[in-house]
């Protein structure tokens, strides 16, 4: 398993990660080794096996009724945001 510099950059773009040159060097070395390591899964006979959906058999995702249960706490939550104005989260301009 080998990855080109372009491959690593492409994964970083998908993952929305800005990488430093040190990150690039480290990941270019370790990612191919990890992928080679996990490729031993290829030897397992899985033709007749369904991919596991849940650790407990027979469990399915529970749904709740579509009713309001939470009270408004946006002021409290926004105390953890870097940039807030008039109750809104600020981000750099998206539309010119």
């Amino acid at each position: 398993m080998s990855l080109t510099r372009h491959d690593v950059e492409n994964i970083a773009r998908l993952a929305r990660l800005a990488l430093t040159p040190a990150d690039m060097a480290s990941l270019s070395d370790s990612l191919p080794r990890i992928l080679t390591f996990v490729e031993q899964l290829g030897a397992a006979q899985t033709a007749a096996v369904e991919p596991m959906a849940h650790p407990l058999e027979g469990q399915s995702q529970r749904l709740r009724s579509d009713t309001v249960t939470e009270t408004d706490a946006h002021e409290r939550y926004q105390q953890n945001a870097a940039r807030v104005e008039a109750g809104l989260y600020l981000v750099p301009k998206v539309i010119e």
Partner: protein, 485 residues
């Protein structure tokens, strides 16, 4: 006082031999004195702890206390705590004050438990040595040049050093059991769905489970009885009644069938660890258990399976960190993409980035079937192996970790060597099974752990088996040198 178990502290407080404030102050003093060398805590909540302790003393004076009223514990810094810094040991959350309590925290608070503070851990619980923390590595109280294990390394070091009587942890691939083994503690990972994940910062959601690190099985039983149970805020929480785990600790083990996991005694297992684990199994025979060898042929694939499934889930879970709503945000972003990529690039540490990248790759178009679907199929095979084994035996046994605690820095440069450290613990996470580690001896002064794995919801049986062993042995009572007084 600090060598007393949680059960003993609780009895002492209830019988008014000492107050919760006395106990809390004693542990806070120890934290102040001993934590600098260990780095086990990220945040100490002294004022809040003393206020909770005073309230507990009042409740007891009014005749209202329960089995945990007034006993102090520490929480792994992965659990959200209302109004208290909750970092997950990451620069990304180094400024995050949680606006709510995790269900585990809330339940223990309601039971009258006092919180001493928040413990150090591997960043976002990704690590097996507590060396990926943005707050620096934790030291093992049995040897300060060695790691305490991870990711719940701060919780393990704190309890082993008797600067906290017990602590919560989380276990995604062994993060409770492996540090418990490396520090001579009892560490329990319950069945998937038994303990609510609400407010427990997500790493790999189909594997993550909260649990405890304690001095013995009885303390674990006390805490788990209070922590477990259905929570409508966790969609994978299981709606089954929670037994009182302390009620069955004294059941005799006569007739118990214990499967010795053949795959856990092969290459890579340190000889001294193997002989101590085999000695421990003899104790089970003396207690009336029958030992049979059991083979789980797909188990050796658990580490590669995990290193596809866990990074995949991690890359998805950690996409919430965008520099906008909470957490680290980069300076002067030039556009939205720059805000996302630099906040994440600057906020996450090297191992977290590595797992996000691995996960992004295995989920990307063209590779999803070959890696992710394949791993989920092998996960099913491993789970089927366990199910077949539990048709024959009540519990499975083997070592928790292949070696004793390794030196700080020894494995940080090689992720695969580090990943293989969890070779015996990951299987239980993949299959959602309850498992625990308990101390079974020392090799060159370093603790060794015995692992027991049970079928789904067999926590009571596991704790019973651990407690019975601890009635015959004294390993769990040893205190590391320098921490006795």
């Amino acid at each position: 006082m600090h060598t007393l178990t949680l059960a003993e502290l609780s009895n002492g407080i209830k019988s008014r031999r000492f107050s919760s404030v006395d106990v809390t102050r004693h542990f806070l003093d120890r934290i102040e004195r001993l934590n600098p060398a260990l780095n086990a805590f990220i945040t100490v909540t002294a004022d809040q702890a003393l206020a909770q302790a005073a309230a507990a003393d009042q409740a007891i004076a009014a005749g209202k206390g329960g089995p945990l009223t007034g006993v102090p514990i520490a929480h792994k810094d992965i659990f959200c705590t209302d109004g208290v810094l909750t970092t997950c040991a990451s620069k990304m959350l180094s400024n995050f004050v949680s606006p709510y309590d995790a269900t585990v925290v809330r339940k223990l608070k309601e039971a009258g438990v006092v919180m001493l503070g928040k413990t150090n851990m591997d960043e976002f619980a990704m690590g097996s040595s507590n060396e990926t923390s943005w707050y620096g590595p934790v030291k093992n109280p049995w040897d300060l040049t060695r790691v305490p294990g991870g990711s719940s390394g701060g919780s393990a070091a704190a309890v082993a050093a008797r600067i906290a009587p017990a602590a919560t942890g989380t276990d995604t691939g062994g993060s409770i059991r492996q540090p418990a083994a490396l520090t001579a503690l009892t560490g329990v990972k319950p069945t998937y769905g038994r303990v609510s994940r609400y407010g427990m910062i997500a790493y790999a959601s189909s594997l993550d489970q909260g649990g405890v690190l304690t001095l013995n099985a009885e303390d674990a039983a006390l805490l788990l009885t209070a922590m477990s149970g259905f929570d409508e805020r966790d969609s994978t929480s299981v709606d089954l009644p929670v037994p009182d785990y302390t009620a069955t600790l004294n059941q005799p083990l006569k007739g118990l069938k214990v499967g010795i996991l053949k795959e856990f005694f092969g290459q890579g297992l340190e000889a001294s660890t193997e002989s101590l684990v085999r000695e421990a199994l003899k104790v089970y025979e003396q207690l009336g258990a029958t030992l049979v060898e059991v083979s789980l042929p797909n188990l050796p694939l658990s580490v590669p399976t995990y290193y596809v499934v866990a990074p995949a889930e991690c890359s998805s879970n950690l996409s919430r960190f965008d520099g906008v709503r909470f957490g680290y945000s980069c300076d002067s972003p030039k556009d939205l993409l720059d805000l996302y990529t630099r906040s994440r690039g600057e906020g996450f540490g090297a191992e977290v980035k590595r797992r996000i990248m691995t996960g992004t790759y295995v989920l990307s178009a063209g590779y999803y079937d070959a890696y992710y679907i394949k791993a989920q199929k092998v996960r099913q095979l491993i789970s089927d192996d366990f199910r077949r084994a539990f048709a024959q035996v009540d519990l499975l046994a083997g070592p928790t970790a292949p070696t004793t605690a390794f030196g700080l820095g020894a494995k940080v440069d090689d992720p695969i060597t580090m990943y293989l450290n969890d070779i015996y613990t990951i299987g239980a996470n993949l299959a959602g099974l309850p498992a625990l580690s308990l101390p079974c001896g020392f090799s060159d002064g370093l603790p060794v752990g015995l692992q027991l794995i049970g079928p789904h919801f067999a926590e009571a049986k596991l704790l019973n088996a651990a407690h019975q062993y601890q009635q015959q042995t004294e390993w769990h009572k040893r205190v590391p040198a320098g921490y006795e007084s």
